[in-house]
């Protein structure tokens, strides 16, 4: 393979069997990029979107030279500055996230090879998806056709994550921007890992294949049939959960147990089997485990409460751990007979076991639940009214719970009302509560605060049935062809992707409201992971959930669920496919050109309103390298740095016009790359603003500006003062707002500017050269 990169030569043996010859697209300049390949591109982005650091700690304690005080201009014993230290922490977080996804992908691929063999053909989209793996094609320059092709990709990803992690060692990378460039690299690697994982599981576990009409899945606790055994799966790696469904079908019947799930394992299980029930997002773990409903909990990996064994034990629920990465202290019974393990669980000799064999863990989960569930139903005693009253009586109003609650919920007042016979205030807290239990840890009186909140709200929970559309996976090539033009020209105002965890500042309703608002405004709304679940948990006036009310087709005014965390690859993949399928740009090993295209032309924005994990950091970083902005909620400032543009500095906002070779002013589009909003209204205003791109046509810009002004007005009650920066020609002015905008233009001595054929990569030389500027 012709490439200047040593690694790819090393890989030639292992990729020798890949059907590269059958792919006639010429190899691009950067297959299998290393951690410095896109340093120039990253620096282009970072020259506009400068890091704004918000250290979470004045100190560094990463090595025994420390602790070092890095306050202000002080340097650590290794010479590092506070700015570099913050970038290093962001890189560490993003590496953790990328490593987690890549490892998850590796396990899925290995498991599927075990089941179906290495030559099993990938089929993530049937006939409607020709570009089956846009990110792998783009980054690796490969066209994967079989599971073993994915192994090649995973080897590359693992190598990159190791290099990236090594850059965080003491006395290694010390320049903040070089560290940031590595953050971007980790994000790009992460997205390739996501794609590997999802196309493998779609193909192997027969998930919906780019299906806009994927089935609606039951969501919530209402209607769980407790006359049957109830199994709960938590985590992200769907293999053990799918095995449970398969075992039930083969040895009992699919309906002989209720299989329920939380977080992404639930999402992915429902893609495999529409009978699975999704309980809720990650924040619902505690309320559901403590309800005592599940008889057996099967945990796999990622985002699982580490105290699951204690909480399950308290309600006599058995736990089965199934991942090498999450053994939670349980005895490894992988090599014992299923019967002996079941006996030990049924007799309560063991509260839980580790079984590193998905088929055996499925058998043990099902058989154990069948044997214990009737006894558990008889003996389980829910938190009683008397216990609730007694707990409430102990409250002294000391505020320690409030001072530990991430959302500062007014717990003592609510408990006081409860004592006075009014449970409404406590009940209302349930919608705002993230289930972290910090309040209980803090309470000097040992009051089970969260339990009390759930007790007050349970009846309401138990009466609400929602739906979420099963994750559809990829976006069809034909859908991309249809929307590519209107999106790139700006006539569909943008793609808004609601992604990430459930650490919401004011409960999940805000996310659902935002999704509906943008769908109503004819944006393309994509969802994934816990955000996808959360959005399903609301009804409109007609009693419909957003997935019932809006289409699942990738088009203006949709709300479509791509799937779990790993399905985020289809959102970045869709942006990339627009460049390839609509604009006919080569994908193969051609990252920089495609990122330049996406950044300048595809008005996409991610909103991770409750992002809290390192995986969410890595997912965000993958969007940043493509120049796609991400907005987080107020808790997101704890990621420690934002990437903010300065709309007021004109010289930051030029691109090269490919037609003339001249640098031209475009206005601050998009203005920021990583942004934390304080309120829902601000996030919406900013998302609309960040959808603008230099390439918008006059008609497209009018549409985008109209949404921006409207949402800005709703936020601040007037038209934005910076509107003149987004008007390039008089033709960009919406007629209905002509007078007020023209006044604004006059006030700011506005001058017309051209609408370029924009690029930022041609502003610097070659692939390895220095910046021209």
């Amino acid at each position: 393979m012709e490439t200047g990169i040593g690694f790819i030569r090393d890989l030639e043996v292992s990729v020798g069997h890949m059907n590269i010859e059958r792919w006639d697209e010429p190899q691009g300049p950067t297959p299998f990029p290393t951690i410095t390949t896109f340093r120039n591109w990253d620096r282009q982005l970072l020259s506009r979107y400068k890091p704004f650091y918000m250290p979470f700690c004045d100190l560094c304690c990463l090595c025994t030279f420390g602790k070092c005080d890095l306050t202000g201009t002080k340097r650590g014993a290794c010479g590092i500055t506070m700015a570099a230290q913050q970038s290093r922490i962001v890189l560490l977080a993003s590496c953790i996230g990328a490593a987690t996804h890549v490892s998850h992908a590796h396990e899925l691929v290995s498991e599927l090879i075990k089941r179906f063999g290495p030559d099993f053909r990938l089929d993530p989209g049937g006939l409607s998806v020709g570009v089956e793996a846009p990110l792998i094609r783009l980054v690796c320059g490969l066209k994967p056709e079989t599971l073993s092709d994915l192994e090649t990709v995973v080897s590359y990803l693992e190598r990159e994550v190791t290099s990236l992690l090594s850059a965080t060692h003491t006395g290694q990378e010390g320049d903040p921007l070089d560290l940031e460039s590595k953050v971007f690299h980790s994000g790009m690697i992460d997205h390739v890992g996501l794609e590997v994982a999802d196309i493998a599981q779609i193909s192997g576990f027969n998930f919906p294949k780019a299906d806009p009409d994927a089935p609606l899945i039951r969501l919530g606790v209402k209607g769980i049939d407790t006359k049957k055994p109830v199994i709960l799966v938590i985590g992200h790696n769907v293999t053990p959960s799918v095995s449970i469904m398969e075992y039930l079908k083969e040895f009992h019947s699919a309906d002989s147990a209720e299989v329920t799930g939380i977080c992404c394992s639930a999402i992915d299980l429902s893609r495999n089997n529409k009978k699975a029930r999704i309980i809720g997002p990650i924040s619902w773990q505690m309320r559901y485990i403590r309800s005592g409903i599940p008889d057996v909990i099967v945990v796999d990996e990622q985002c699982i409460r580490t105290d699951v064994i204690n909480e399950a034990g308290a309600v006599n629920t058995r736990v089965i751990a199934t991942s090498e990465k999450n053994c939670i202290g349980l005895p490894d019974r992988t090599n014992d007979t299923a019967e002996s393990i079941i006996n030990d669980l049924v007799s309560n000799k063991l509260p839980g076991v580790l079984i590193l064999d998905p088929l055996k863990s499925a058998q043990v989960a099902v058989e154990t639940s069948l044997r214990i569930f009737e006894e558990r139903r008889r003996t389980h005693r829910p938190f009683s009214e008397a216990e609730a009253n007694e707990a409430a009586l102990n409250c002294t109003g000391c505020m320690e719970c409030v001072r530990s609650c991430p959302n500062e919920l007014p717990i003592p007042d609510a408990i006081q009302s409860f004592r006075d016979g009014n449970p409404v205030n406590l009940r209302e807290l349930l919608d705002l509560c993230n289930g972290c239990i910090r309040c209980e840890q803090a309470c000097p009186k040992g009051i089970p605060v969260h339990r009390l909140i759930v007790y007050s709200g349970w009846e309401k929970l138990n009466n609400e049935q929602f739906t979420v559309r099963a994750g559809r996976g990829a976006i069809q090539d034909t859908e991309i062809r249809t929307v590519g033009g209107p999106l790139v020209l700006g006539e569909i105002p943008g793609i808004i992707a609601f992604v990430g965890c459930a650490n919401y500042p004011n409960g999940g309703e805000e996310v659902a409201r935002m999704a509906v608002e943008f769908a109503h405004r004819k944006y393309i709304v994509c969802t994934s992971g816990c955000s996808a679940i959360t959005i399903g948990m609301y009804h409109d006036e007609d009693g419909k959930t957003p997935y019932e009310a809006y289409s699942g087709k990738f088009d203006a005014g949709c709300i479509l669920n791509v799937g779990s965390c790993v399905s985020n690859a289809h959102i970045s993949g869709a942006a990339v496919k627009i460049a390839n399928i609509f604009a006919k740009r080569n994908l193969r090993g051609n990252y920089e050109e495609i990122a330049d295209y996406v950044h300048n032309r595809v008005g996409a924005v991610g909103i991770a309103w409750g992002a809290m994990s390192q995986k969410a950091a890595a997912i965000a970083a993958g969007f940043w390298r493509l120049g796609i902005p991400v907005i987080v909620g107020p808790q997101g400032t704890k990621y420690r740095r934002m990437l903010l543009g300065r709309g007021d500095i004109d010289s930051d906002w030029t691109v090269m016009d490919s037609r003339t070779g001249e640098e031209v002013y475009t206005g601050p589009v998009p203005e920021h790359l990583f942004y934390a909003a304080e309120t829902e209204e601000e996030a919406m205003m900013m998302a609309a603003k960040l959808c603008m791109r230099p390439n918008d046509t006059g008609k497209g810009r009018i549409i985008k500006i109209t949404h921006y002004i409207d949402l800005y007005r709703k936020l601040y009650g007037k038209i934005p003062d910076d509107i003149y920066r987004f008007i390039r020609k008089k033709g960009d002015i919406p007629l209905t707002l002509k007078d007020s905008i023209e006044e604004n233009l006059k006030m700011h001595n506005w001058k017309e500017s051209p609408i370029p054929d924009p690029t930022r990569i041609r502003s610097y030389e070659g692939k390895s050269g220095e910046s021209k500027r």
Partner: protein, 177 residues
């Protein structure tokens, strides 16, 4: 209630922590000393209820008496200022913090870089992190937090207070003495 230590228990700061303002006169002395202050009013200002009304009503009074330009970061505070027919600059909080970190920034109405940024009514953790950014990367600026919870990342902060005491302090500042 202890008056020292972060309001949010786990958000421990240091070694460099805000000077705790135990005497209200210190705030008024600061307001007299700084040439170019700005008051940043967050979304919680219309939720927090004190004896004499919402937090924002105290802040509006303080801004008026001390002639401090106001930035409202959010919808409810902006509407409040519009209703009382007083001017505020609507700027998202992350953007104003970023602007404040730039010593070359010309100021909200190009009337000079602020030398004192006063924060009030923001979500606690968000204010904590933004103040940390300014503590480390805006040596040209001093920050003052007017919240009922101690914000250690500011240069100066009120201690942890009950609502009566908070009311007394804000009322005193609002008298402009």
């Amino acid at each position: 209630m202890t008056s020292h230590g972060s309001w949010m228990r786990a958000e421990i700061a240091g070694p460099k922590k805000a000077v705790v303002i135990n005497k209200t006169e210190v705030v008024t002395a600061l307001l007299k000393r700084f040439r170019s202050p700005v008051l940043i009013i967050g979304s919680r200002s219309t939720e927090i209820e004190l004896n004499g009304g919402k937090l924002i009503s105290y802040l509006a009074r303080i801004a008026e008496v001390w002639k401090i330009p106001v930035v409202t970061t959010n919808r409810s505070a902006s509407l409040y200022f519009a209703e009382i027919r007083r001017h505020s600059f609507p700027i998202p909080v992350i953007e104003i913090a970023n602007l404040l970190s730039d010593p070359g920034w010309k100021g909200i109405s190009e009337n000079g870089t602020p030398d004192l940024a006063i924060f009030s009514g923001l979500p606690y953790s968000m204010e904590w992190t933004l103040l940390s950014g300014l503590k480390h990367f805006a040596p040209h600026l001093k920050t003052l937090s007017l919240e009922y919870g101690y914000e250690p990342q500011a240069d100066y902060s009120l201690p942890n207070l009950d609502m009566n005491k908070f009311h007394e302090i804000l009322s005193f500042i609002g008298r402009g003495e």
